[in-house]
């Protein structure tokens, strides 16, 4: 991020803004794609986010906050688009109580391919998904994730924890015969 570019864009320099947008677009589209799991809608979210950034750029007093601010805008539009499509987002996976026993998730680790993981990611609600994406895809510390999403740190941490747990539980059930976990079988 070029601080000078942000300062110029803030003064209305479209060319400077274009450079910022070009630099940010691919990574933001990656974020949006992971949150929305749809390339077209991801692009819409990024474009809407960039447009909102342009319109509101004068509100950004601290140029160094540009990246985080832009991510926040894009995530906000992702939320908006995701919530329009309730069908996907209303799916709340049921967590498997506990994944004890050797082999359970190690099996998953062996069997899992990326598409499966990403499909499971798409099934959890958008708030938890956003935390996972920002934390792992952008490699942001949870504290920064919390700031971008404007939620308490504890909420970000618990969403991450809960989101992973939901994915694990779902995958674990998929591995068990007839969708029954080994624990349930024992019970």
């Amino acid at each position: 991020m070029d601080r000078e570019l942000v300062l110029r864009a803030r003064k209305g320099d479209v060319e400077a803004f274009d450079q910022l947008a070009r630099a940010a677009f691919p990574r933001l589209k990656g974020v949006a794609y992971l949150v929305l799991r749809d390339a077209d809608r991801a692009e819409d979210a990024v474009q809407d986010g960039l447009l909102a950034a342009w319109k509101g750029l004068r509100a950004l007093r601290e140029p160094d906050a540009w990246d985080a601010w832009l991510r926040r805008l894009v995530i906000r539009y992702c939320y908006r688009l995701a919530k329009r499509e309730q069908r996907r987002n209303e799916v709340e996976l049921e967590a498997t109580p506990s994944l004890t026993g050797t082999g359970s998730l190690l099996e998953a680790a062996v069997v899992a391919d990326r598409e499966w993981i990403l499909d499971e990611l798409a099934r959890i609600d958008v708030e938890k998904r956003a935390v996972i994406v920002l934390h792992y895809y952008l490699d942001l510390p949870l504290r920064e994730v919390a700031e971008i999403l404007d939620i308490p740190y504890g909420t970000a941490a618990s969403r991450l924890h809960r989101g992973l747990e939901l994915m694990r539980g779902s995958m674990h059930r998929s591995l068990a015969p007839d969708g029954i976990t080994s624990q349930e079988q024992q019970a």
């Binding site: 990656g30 906000r76 998730l105 308490p152």
Partner: protein, 451 residues
């Protein structure tokens, strides 16, 4: 435990595998076209309408604080107008989802109980800020809410009332114990507070709460050898919470029971405070600091797959101890000094790797089946590694300066010794008659090392 660790890694790798996604043809031009046709908002309008953004160090225009100030100012104007018209302004001012508890009456409420009751009554409250004072209360919380100290942590004190309610420790022999707070199946958090007094325990039952930067001062009962006792924090009921950057002194530490699987990291546990778990598969204990004196530090019983990593333990009788552990603990990268027994793995099938042990009577004591003791460094003790029973691979370890024996294998044990370095020990390797030991010839005594 490795399951959880591996799973997190796989998710991270999978997500990262997406990489940057190139825009479709014309996407940039379309964006730019929309930008050119749009006018930037004046700053004052953006202040109100555009997205809030906060930074760590700077108060940006549009930050929540500034936005709140703007909204508050507007609300004040409106409130004054309404008050003049005889309307109640108070409700308008109470619209924020953060409320303040202050004993001196400067906040919204004077007790935390009142604030929680307000949350129960339907107000949209997700954060309670608590100002300095001693709050003698017992709180049962079953909603996602943050309790956060607003001021110096040492001055914001939660204490359980005498003769207050008790909570069940579920599936442990400790029975019911008094508490200051129970978090029941929540994803809430507790930050920047001090819990004080033996009974002022924190129960974390189910859910995934976050405990961040909290002081536990004389809370719970210090552990004694062989007896867990009720510590300051008690995880029960499959809780997946996190305790981090907190301090435990003068009382107990943390119990983990009943299939709870918390993450416990970067805490400071002073004399006598411990982390003690039973049936706690999936627990992660990392980067904590334990200082002596004390009977033990980290102790897990019964089948437990735990990760104990990068902790620093000084001056405890036992450093890391697994008992009756039929699971596979991973004990990795810890630094332990001044212990009677630094690491004791009893019944474990796990691995003890890359630990640095010094000035301890016994470095590593093993009596498990099928595990690995590898790449540890043990200096200046009495005995470096004892394989008491079971089967284990001992490889790549360095044992120096043992007053008695570098490695000792008892008759009931089966051990593969490979690539170990033994220097300056009174006896490098002692194998008791009857032990089943294979030595592939790659073990090196310092005398054998050629420059």
């Amino acid at each position: 435990m490795n399951d959880q660790h591996d799973f997190e890694r796989i998710v991270a790798e999978s997500v990262r595998s997406i990489g940057p996604v190139a825009p479709s043809d014309g996407a940039h031009d379309l964006t730019l076209d929309r930008v050119r046709r749009s006018r930037q908002q004046p700053e004052w309008l953006a202040l109100i309408k555009e997205p809030p953004m906060r930074t760590n160090e700077h108060l940006a225009v549009g930050s929540p604080t500034v936005r709140r100030m703007a909204i508050l100012a507007a609300t004040l104007v409106l409130a004054i107008a309404l008050a003049a018209a005889g309307a109640g302004a108070k409700q308008l001012l109470a619209a924020d989802s953060t409320i303040v508890v202050a004993q001196d009456g400067s906040g919204d409420y004077t007790t935390i109980t009142q604030a929680l009751e307000a949350a129960e009554s339907g107000r949209d409250i997700d954060e309670i800020l608590i100002r300095p004072g001693t709050y003698i209360e017992a709180l049962f919380i079953d909603r996602d809410i943050t309790l956060k100290g607003d001021g110096e942590r040492d001055e914001i004190i939660i204490t359980a009332p005498e003769g207050g309610p008790r909570s069940d420790t579920h599936f442990s022999w400790l029975g019911e114990k008094p508490y200051a707070i129970v978090l029941e199946a929540t994803e809430g958090s507790i930050e920047n507070l001090t819990f004080r007094g033996t009974d002022s325990r924190l129960f974390l039952d189910d859910g995934a709460p976050m405990i961040d930067g909290v002081m536990f001062d004389g809370v719970g009962e210090p552990a004694v050898p062989g007896i867990a006792r009720a510590q300051a924090i008690i995880f029960t009921g499959r809780s997946k919470g996190t305790v981090q950057d907190s301090v435990f002194r003068g009382g107990g530490g943390i119990n983990v029971f009943a299939a709870a699987a918390p993450v416990i990291e970067r805490n400071q546990l002073d004399a006598g405070t411990v982390i003690y778990g039973d049936y706690a598969d999936g627990t992660i204990i990392r980067e904590n600091t334990f200082t002596g004196p004390g009977a033990f530090s980290i102790r897990f019983g019964e089948p437990a797959e735990v990760l104990v990593k990068s902790n620093e333990i000084r001056g405890r009788e036992y450093g890391i101890d697994t008992v009756n552990g039929l699971g596979s603990a991973t004990i990795e990268g810890n630094t332990i000094s001044g212990a009677t027994t630094a690491i004791s793995a009893d019944g474990s099938t796990g691995q003890v790797i890359d630990n640095a042990i010094s000035d301890s009577v016994v470095g590593i004591s093993w009596s498990g089946e099928g595990g690995v003791i590898a790449d540890n460094t043990i200096r200046d003790g009495a005995t470096g590694i004892i394989v008491g029973a079971g089967t284990v691979t001992v490889q790549g370890n360095t044992v120096e300066g043992a007053e008695n024996t570098g490695m000792l294998v008892y008759a009931t044990a089966t051990a593969e010794l490979s690539g170990n370095t033994l220097c300056g020990n009174t006896v490098d390797i002692e194998i008791v008659d009857g032990a089943d030991v294979s030595d592939d010839g790659s073990n090196v005594a310092c005398d054998d090392v050629t420059e």
